[in-house]
Each structure stands twice: as structure tokens, then as C-alpha cells.
Symmetry: C2
Subunit: 308 residues, 2 copies
């Protein structure tokens, strides 16, 4: 295992892919690996990129990769698709255009389908990001499809969240206020050459003017036409501005708070054998026991085990 950690620090792409599989399977080996790599992390910037289907996120990501490579950065992409039926590591349709980067060892792309990752999508994404951080990727782009609760949680784990909108979904600005817009650090209006881009811009500004952020950051709105490469540098400048702000430090602490809660939750559940959950559930479903005392009993049992 320490060999694998060394290979990852040495940026060995095959070792990184092997480690990603370990992490996605939530194996103890994956956790031990990350524990060993943790001191090597903290240098990467995690950029979450989210928005509805058809917003052009994959094309944007492709352009970001090119622009960051032109700055000689090492770039990783984690593509999270909560609706995908494929198992971990599958290549999704939209990802095909990214395959041109596969020959470049300084670009690492991982598609993570989330079937079966119930409740743990954000945690797994965060673990993969730690791995890629340790492997010296300087920018890690986390692309999520959709605007549901899963996507919001993944986005909260990033250091910077970019929300991609397109003209012609004006109504959705209202709908989106609820979830993803609360965590947007930067807005991109993609396909900004389409009619309605200015109207969308105005709507967005009026929504933003109503909700001042506690950290003092005002999310900028960047117009792009990703298919033509327009606005990409502006978007990267906006990301840099956030990266250098005090908001980013606050954001990283907030995402670690979420992460620590997640880890504690999973650790405690893993400490109870499946058979115990099954027999307790049977007793509860028959009303022989109540669930509250069952759970309290487990918490008490942690104590006894420590003393045993």
C-alpha cells in the first residue's frame, strides 16, 4: 500500500486509476491510502461545475482543460452523474469529446456513476479529489449533472462552485433559487450568443441583489460561448479571483465541516455489524423494541467495546 502511495505521489496514472477504484469501493485499503496521502494534499483547487442538462457543461470543461493546460497546469476532472445506471468508471456519452485529452498524462478524467452510492456521493467525490490533489493535479474540475440535492451536496464539497445557465430557461432562475443558487460562487451564462442572454443576465442580477452573501462575496456573471472558446479566460479569471479571496478560506472550512460530519456518520455505521442492524430492524418492525432505545444501545456499546 505504501508502494501505491509512492506511485501516486510520483504521478503514476495507472496507480492513480487503481487507487480511484479502491476509493470508489469504499474499501478500508482506500481509506488507509488516503490517510497516508493526506499530508500531500491541500494544494489543489476544487472547482465544482454544475447546471441543468444541455447547459454545455462538458464543452466548458473541455475548454477549461485546454486553457489550464496552456498555463502548464495539471488538470483532473471528476464527472459525477447521479442518474447514470453505469457502475464506477464508466465512460458517459458526453465525455467522449474529452477523450482527446486521454493521451495527455497531465490530464486525468474520471467518470463516477453514482448508482449504489446512496448518501455517499459527495463523500466519494471528496475522497477522489484528495487522491488527485495528492497526485499533484493543480485544478480539479468536478462536473455534476442536474440541480438536485445530490448535486448541491457535491457542489458544497468543492472550494469554488460555478453554476452554468443558458438563455431561454428564465423561469428556472426562480426555481433554482432554492438549491444550487445558494452555493454559487460564479455564474456562467453559456451559449451567450443565443437570444435572451441579456434578459437572463438581468434576472440573475436582480435575484443576486436580493440575497447578499454573509461572506461579502458577490458572485460575478461571466458570459461564454464554450463551443467557440469565447469567455473562457474571463471565467478562469473569476475563478482565480475567488481562489484568492477570504471567501475561499471560509468555504474550505465549511466544506471540511460537512465532510467531517459525513465521515463520522459513516464510521459509526460501519462499526455495527450488518447482522445487528437486521435483527434490530426485525424486532422494531414487530414492535418488540423501539428504534430510539436500539440506537442509544449502540452508542452505549461503543463505550463498552473501548473498555473491553
Amino acid at each position: 500500500m505504501s508502494d501505491l502511495a509512492d506511485q501516486i505521489r510520483a504521478r503514476d496514472v495507472r496507480a492513480i486509476a487503481r487507487a480511484a477504484t479502491l476509493i470508489e469501493s469504499h474499501s478500508r485499503a482506500g481509506e488507509n491510502l488516503l490517510r497516508g496521502l493526506f499530508p500531500n494534499t491541500g494544494k489543489a483547487t476544487l472547482v465544482g461545475i454544475t447546471g441543468g442538462p444541455g447547459a454545455g457543461k462538458s464543452t466548458l470543461v473541455d475548454r477549461f482543460i485546454k486553457a489550464l493546460r496552456a498555463r502548464l497546469q495539471r488538470v483532473a476532472v471528476i464527472a459525477v452523474d447521479p442518474t447514470s445506471p453505469y457502475s464506477g468508471g464508466a465512460i458517459l456519452g458526453d465525455r467522449i469529446r474529452m477523450q482527446q485529452h486521454h493521451a495527455d498524462p497531465a490530464v486525468f478524467i474520471r467518470s463516477m456513476a453514482t448508482r449504489g452510492h446512496t448518501g455517499g456521493i459527495a463523500a466519494t467525490t471528496s475522497d477522489l479529489a484528495l487522491l488527485l490533489d495528492a497526485a499533484a493535479y493543480e485544478t480539479i474540475l468536478i462536473e455534476t449533472v442536474g440541480v438536485g440535492q445530490d448535486e448541491v451536496e457535491v457542489a458544497r464539497m468543492a472550494d469554488i462552485t460555478v453554476v452554468v445557465l443558458v438563455p431561454g430557461m428564465g423561469d428556472d432562475v426562480q426555481a433554482m433559487k432554492a438549491g444550487i443558487m445558494e452555493i454559487a460562487d460564479i455564474y456562467i451564462i453559456n451559449k451567450a450568443d443565443l437570444p435572451g442572454a441579456d434578459r437572463l443576465d438581468r434576472e440573475l442580477r436582480s435575484v443576486l441583489s436580493l440575497a447578499k452573501r454573509q461572506d461579502g462575496w458577490t458572485p460575478p456573471i461571466v458570459h461564454t460561448v464554450a463551443t467557440e472558446g469565447k469567455g473562457i479566460d474571463d471565467a478562469l479569471l473569476a475563478i482565480d479571483a475567488f481562489r484568492n479571496s477570504s471567501s475561499k478560506r471560509q468555504r474550505m472550512i465549511a466544506s471540511w465541516e460537512l465532510r467531517l460530519r459525513d465521515m463520522l456518520r459513516e464510521r459509526i455505521v460501519a462499526s455495527i455489524p450488518d447482522a445487528d442492524f437486521h435483527s434490530a430492524a426485525t424486532a422494531v418492525s414487530q414492535r418488540k423494541r423501539d428504534p430510539y432505545s436500539v440506537v442509544q444501545g449502540w452508542i452505549d456499546a461503543i463505550e463498552r467495546r473501548k473498555n473491553g
Copy 2:
């Protein structure tokens, strides 16, 4: 608080609504109330009703209410909308047609918007269902909008899951295989008078024939035209058949297993002060500590507190 429990057992609608608000706010009072009511639960059948937007779920639910009332049952509805920006208890557009039941004290309808219920939608729904069970509602219909991970988790908490499809979304049968179809106990093809109903039926059967369930249950496919009340009795018969099968007992145990894991997760996180999460997150983000030893330290601290 014991007064409130008594009022709930006495089926006092205003007390039930007040208790629902306590539960949705995740207050300690809500939990204590449910602990006291737990011995009064276990008689209701929880029927999850899910499917994409436009499938006609609300009309179906409305028809189910009427048909169950004709059987002299007390009926409750929990409408869960993960995309709604409204806070708990809001009335959603589609719910308006259900308002005709508001004058009937044997029908209780609660809309639960899920903003801010991060990670706890399914748990809160399950808690509300326990409350309504204790208030002697015999059938509790849990309606969810959409087919994402949140909906799957809500559906897993039900005793019986009904998936509603409509003709003309043939491609979606393939897409849905990933998530919601794995937990469907009964399929309803609603708007079955539209062209394509038979084709959808065939597609569904071919998908079902590929995936035999471990519990031996073969999900029936019921055709309905909810707007005309057609097929509603057939659907209720299918629900009864599942209710009386051994699959339902297995299902209830499985949903309690999920629920106990959820409760343990939340209990353990609640036992750590927010300030501790914040200071640990700060140290981790600065790489002064690693997250794995932080979490282990908390688990150790549970022990010390028990001994203190």
C-alpha cells in the same frame, strides 16, 4: 408533551399538524413525542407513489383517497417535493385539487418541501409517517416528485412502492432501470388510454423478465386512467396483494434497517457541538490535523463522556 401525544392518539387534527411541524424542525420535542407514540404505531400501510413529472400522480392520489374513504379508511398523504423552494407545510400547485378533502377529518394531507432537509428527507418522511400511523390513519400515501436519488430513498422507507409511468416515455423505462425500478413493487401505467400504452406495457414486461426479485414477488402492471377513475380498484387490489405477501414483511424489515442506520448517523453527529466541528475543520483545512484521526477522536470521546 404527553398531552399532545394523547391528542394525537385521539385523532385531533390540529394536534397532528402541530406535531408534524415539530417533527419537520427536527426538534428534540418531536423525537420525544415519537418515542412516546411508537407503541401506537405499526398498523398503517405506507404506500410510496413515485414517477416523473406529468405522470398524473396527484390525480391518482386523489382517486385513491376517494376509493379508500369509500372503504371507510382513514387516509393520510405526505407529498414530498425535493425541488420545491417553499418551506415546510407549503401548498404545492398540484395539491390544490386535493383541497376538496380538507373538510374531511379522516383525510390528512401534508406537503413537505425539502429545502434544507439535506440528507434527511427520507428520515423526516418516515417520522411523519410514524406520527400519522399513531393517529390511526390506516393508509399513508407518500407521493414523491421525480426519480432522483432522494425519491429512491423516500420510496425505500415505504412498505410498498408504486411507480407511475405514462405512455410516450418509452426511452425512460431504460433510464429508470437504474434507480426507482429496482424498488417498484407495483407499476401503474396511467393515462392508459393514450397511444403507446400497450407498447409501454410490453417494454416494462421485458425489463421485468430480465430482473427476477430475490423475494419472489413479480411486480404487477396495472393500467389506469386516473382522470376518469378507471383502474383505481385494480390498483388497490394490487396494493392489498402485496400487503398480504411475505415480501411486505421483508420490505418492512429492510426499511427499518435503513432507518436505524439513519438514526444512528444523525444521533452521533448531534452529540458533537457545532463549535467542535468548526475548529476541527479549520485545523484540517490548514493540514494541522488529519480528518481520520479527528473522527476517531470523537468516537473515543463518546466513551469518555459515558464514563464521566
